[in-house]
Each structure stands twice: as C-alpha cells, then as structure tokens.
Amino acid sequence: MSDSGIIDYAVLIPLMPMLAFPVILFLGRLFNGTPTWVKNVKEGGIIALTVMGASLVLALAVIKEHMHHVGTANVFTWFESSWWNSETGAITTKVFGVGIHIDHLTVMLLFVAAFLCFLINIFSIGYMNTDPINDNRNHRFYAEFVLFCSGMLGMVLADSFLWLFIFWELMGLCSYLLIGFYYERPSAAYAAKKAFLTTRVGDVFLVIGLVMLWNLFDGHLDYAYVFNKENIAAVDSGDLQLALGMMFIGAVGKSAQFPLHVWLPDAMEGPTPVSALIHAATMVNAGLYLVARMFPFFGGAELGALSTLAIVIACIGGITAVMAALIAFVQMDLKKVLAYSTMSQLAYIFTGLGSALWFANNGYDELAAFAMGASLFHLFNHAMAKGMLFMASGSVIHEMHHAHHEVAHHDDDHHDDHHDDHFDAQSMENMGGLASRMPITATAMFVGSMSIIGIPLIGGFWSKEGIIASAWQVALKEPIFLLPAILILIGAGMTGFYMSRMWFMTFAGKPKTEVAEHVHEQTAWIPIPLVTLTFMTLGAIVFAGMHAGHWLGDFESGHYTNFFDGIGYELEHVFLNHDTFLLVLTYVAIGLSLVLGPSFAMALYGGSLDDGQKAKPWMQWAINLSAKVNSRSKFDNTEWANSSLSNSLHKRLHFDDVYDAAMMKIVVGFSNLAAIFDTKFIDGVIKTIESTSQQASQRVRALTTGSARDYIMMTALGTLAIFMLLWGVA
C-alpha cells in the first residue's frame, strides 16, 4: 500500500540533512579559515540552517497532509532473504524494504524533531560561532549536527522497526561524536565512549529483540504488517513479550533509564546545543518513541498476556524518576541538574507509557488512550521545555564565559591563557543574581522550570497530571503498580525542589562571584529560540485543548471540533474531576510539586537580588517570595549535606564505580587471561611441538655417530628386524 502526494517527498526530510553532512564537512576542510566561510556562512551554520529549514517546511507540509490519516510510501527494496524449511524443503523468499510510514505518532515526533532541530540550529549559530575555542572545528559541529538531525527525522519516519533501529544507531554515532567534540579533553573522550558503550549495551538487546520479532512475524518488521491485529493474534504472546522486553532494554539504554542511565550526565561534556538537542529534546526520546510504537502489540495481543512487561516498564520509570531526582538534589553543575531532570522526566513518560500499555493489554481502551495521550503529551512538553532550559543554561554559561573573559582581562593583562584554567562557568556556585542581568534567559528558564515542575496551567502540568492519574488508576486495579505510582508522586515533589533550587541558585540571591556581576545578554541569535519556546511552553494549554486523546492513534474518536470545548474539558478534567480519588490525587500532586518542593528550595537557596537590580516583574515576585521564605526559615542542612546518603548521591549512587569496576576488573581481566592463553597455551603448544621435534631431531641425529661400525651394526639390526617381520608374517 502506498500513497502518493506530499509523502513521496517525505524521504527528503532525512535525506537532505544527510547529504548536507559530507558537504559541510568537506567544504569545511577546504575553506577553513577563509573569512567568507567563517563570517557569512558561519562555518557551515547557515548551510545547516537552510537545510534544516527546508526539512522543517517539508515536515510541516507532511504533517498537515497526514494529520488525520496514516500514510505509507515505499522507497526501495533493501534486501531479500530466503528461508528453508528443512522438513518440506520449501524455500520462501522475504523482501525487506525501506519506506516511509506516517501516523499520529510520527506526526507528533516529526514536529518536535524538525522544529527543535531548526531552533537549536539557530541557537548554535549564536552559541558556537562566538567562542574562539571552536575555531577550525565548527564545520565539524554542523556536519555532525545535520547528520544527527537526519538520524532523528529518519527514525521517526521509518516504516519498520529495523529502520528505526538503523537511524537510532546513526543518532548514537552522532551523539558520540558530538559529546567528544572537544576531543582533547580526556573527560569528553571518556564521556563519549561511555555514552556510546552504554547505549550499545541496550542496542544489543534491541537487536536481539528485533531478531526475535523478525522470526515471530515471519520476516516482517514493517509496521503495516506487524501491527495488523490478525498477525499479532497469530503470535505466541509469551515470545512476543520476551521480544518486546528485549527491545525495551534498548529503549532503557537510549533514554538513560535505570540501570543504563550512567551515560547521560557525562554526556553534558558536549557543547550545550548538543545537550539541548540530543540529550534533552530528541535522541533520548527515541526510547520513548520505541515503547510508544509497541502500543498496538499490547492492544492486539491476548488479554493480560503482556501486562508483566507493562509493569516492568512502569517500575523502571518510577525507580528512575526518584533516583534521578535524588541525585539532582546535590548537583552543582547547571547542565547536570538538567541532565538528571531529563532522566527523571523521561522516567515519568515511561511510567505513563507503562500504564497505557497495561490498560491496552487489559482491555481498557479508553483509559489506555488517555494514558497514552498523556505520556506523549508529556514527551512533547518536556522536549520543548527541556530544549529551552538547556538553551537557556547554554546562554548563561556562554555569557559567564564572556564575562569571565572580560573580568580576567580587566584585572590583569599579564597573562592571557589563565582564564580557562580554574573557573567553572557551569557551576551554580559561581552564579547567582542573574535574573536582572539576563532577563530573556531568566524568563525562559523560569517558564521552563515551571513547566517541568508542573505548575498548573503551564506546559507540563497537563501531561504530568495525566500520567500520575493514569498510574494510580492502574494501581487501583493492579497492586504492584503502586510502586511506580507512589514513586512518581514523590518524584513530583522532588522535581519541585530541584528545579526551583536550580533557578534560585542561578538567578536569585546575590552574585556569588565577581564574574557573575559582569554578565550581560549580548549574543545574537540566542534569544530567538528562547522566546519562541517560551511561548510554546506557555501555550501548552492550547495543545492540551486539542485534547490529549488526540495524540493517540485512534483518529476517529476523542477529537473535539470546537477548540474551546476542548480547553474546557481539559480544565474540568483536571481541576473538577468527577472521580473523587483522582480529584484528591490531583491536588496532592499539585501540593507536592507547587508548594512543598519549591518551599524547601526557597528556604535553602532563595534570596533577594543585589541592591538596585530588578528583575522583570513576572519573576520578581518569586525572588521576593524566596527571600522572605529564606529569611524566615532557619533551615540548616549541613548535617544532611554531610550524611552518607548525600555522599553517595554526590557519587551518583556508585553506579559508575560499579560499572567501571566490572568492566575493568572482570571483562578486561578475562581478556588479558584470554590473550595469555593464546600466547602461552596455543602458541605454547605449537612451540612445544617445535622444540620437541627439534629435540627429537637432536636425538635422532645423535644416532648417526660418525663411526662406520655403528652404521654397520644398525644395518645388521635392520636386517634382523626385517627378518623377524617377514618371519612373523610368513
């Protein structure tokens, strides 16, 4: 089945960036250092931007066309494979192709990906091209950037799990390259390796899952075939659950969930736009996308047969949500806080998806649709907000760098190269009071944080409530689900704390260093995406009004024609729920995230700005409030800060240590043993054979004594021997 129309050109969406990759890379090698290339083309940034813009336009066109119906297109046959039945001897040939598949899920992620890629490209031009450290390597950045975008867009558009995986790996590669962008830093090199390797572990399972799926579905991995209800029903659901479980491990790796989460914080070694795009907004969503893709299996399979997997997914989500939030409590690095926050929020979505899958598998179609919608909406909100947060943090870091540069040059002109040495531009301990100095950034950060925390009426609130509600609704039916349900509820409060902590430490209070006093917002390009996304986040109610259910596959249902009806329904659903339990739950969650978490944060880290400095009014109240709370409460957390829990939180709950030890001690140890076995044993055997035969040679040749008498005697003996032999036979 193949549609025609705009979808025929959909393949260009990933293809254009992919083709731009070599162009930028090699032109960069050629033109590096020429002023035109550096100033006007922004070392490839403009080329990339053009390409991403074109992709975005095309993507929007495709989205418009396929908003309400599924579209598919074949591109070419990738390979053919044949199977032999050893019983009958029959040989069947399976064709495996490449194609485009567009449905609701695709549409949503396509928008997120294309839109954010474009915005972050704009941001990068501002961020990357003004830093001298990036001279001579920016073309590399843009090349890898567009390749990544191609991977992300391709993954979303792919029409089969295999092609999903292929683009998934492509993203992994780009992630690796971009984390290691500052290749000369050992920490970057280490982080890049770690990221690739950890996700690779997940990918291995994903491949195995694909292989199992391939065999279950008779050589098909394309959505059109595997999502067919009859085909799903024909499959043994136990096997299916194993296969999907394997694939889920891949998703765990990619989306940095427990226990394969260790790579994400380190991945912040990459340039900030990379963190924004790859490690917050798009690539880490790939795992979610994969799990969301599994939805039809749960709907189609035998009732309850796959619910174990759904529970596992939700539990992993719950555990990660709390764990990441805990670690985020103690992080001082601005980007690392955001990284842990990303982990935690992705975990929410996993829990939501788990609930949706559970519902789907147990026959609660409407609830499933709701939970699915909530999860995907959260994905959307989180992508927008987190992308913005990262860009804002990038803005902060960038300006801190500039300020540091200025300050350092002001103070002493004697030495120029000291400024990189000991100053950490990313540490929140060096910031403070930036709200007035960086109004746009502070606003963006403010809105973003609120969205993540789940402040009512803003961004993530709508979706987060849905996720918590869904999880609890499952928990009412399935007691094991209480674990993730409780965990994410606690996590909501923790989110409130660490996000507020981050904001207050950075923007409120007095500047903690001299550098922070000299910060200005001065870089062009950067505000564009920040402002855009601020409005996107604030306007989430609009998207919510299109009904969360819309994000779900069933296009026929749950789709309000009247826009304001939708908003009304949404508001009613959240704040005046007819189900008392859910109503209470909502307010508990609001209370936790809105009141408890931020209050603690204010108490610990709040404070007023410098005298004479004034933030924009929409933030000033929060700063004032925090100053008040802070001064009222005599809250001392030094004891807690020195506790062993805090220590282990600083050490990221020892996961990295354990993994490193396992790798270095066990695997490398075994490897050394194997190498020794090769050289000592196998080669040893050969050398022994050789030396033994040399010795034998010595012995044998020693029989040739040189005395003719001995030779005669041997002849005589030989005669005798022949004599005996012949006699014996005769």
Binding site: G706, A708, R709, T715
Partner: protein, 100 residues
C-alpha cells in the same frame, strides 16, 4: 660327495661371522676381510646351490662374485689408503669427523 646342505650351513656360519666381524672390529682392514668373508659365504652358497640344482649358472655366478669381491678389495684398499693419508689411522672409530 658332501651334501650341499652342509655347504649351505657352512656358508651361513661364514656369513654370520663376517657380518658380526664387520661391526665388531675397529680395524678397517679387518672389516674389509670380514666383508670378503661374507662374499665368500655367498660363493659357497652359489656353488652349493648349483650342485643341488645341477645347474651351471650357479658356478658362473660364483665366478662373477669372486671378481666383484676382488674389485671391491682393490677399491677398498685404495680408499683406506687415502683415509690413512688424511687421518693417519685405520681405526674406524677414530674416523668420525662427519656425524649428526
């Protein structure tokens, strides 16, 4: 007339003595003599067999064998001479430059 079997027996004994002597004696000349002994055993055997079969070829063989033995002695002595020239000994045990 003596039964050829006895002659054969004598030949066998001679042969064994010759063979034994060939590797138990050191002196090259004695070894050469032992080899001659073996050849003589062959001659005796031929003659005995010829008598046994009443066939004249055996005699011819014996005559040829004697000629061969003679040639062998001639060459052997010449070779021993050259050995003596170089090694100044005719003890076979002491001529063991080439070995292994």
């Amino acid at each position: 007339m003596i039964d050829p079997a006895w002659v054969s027996g004598l030949a066998a004994i001679l042969f064994i003595i010759g063979l034994w002597g060939a590797f138990s004696r050191k002196n090259a000349i004695v070894v050469l003599m032992c080899i001659e002994l073996m050849l003589n055993a062959v001659n005796l055997q031929f003659v005995a067999a010829a008598t046994h079969w009443g066939d004249v070829t055996g005699w011819v063989y014996a005559v040829f064998a004697i000629a061969i033995a003679a040639a062998e002695v001639a060459i052997g002595l010449a070779i021993f001479l050259s050995m003596y020239g170089q090694h100044e000994t005719i003890s076979l045990d002491e001529v063991n430059l080439l070995k292994n």
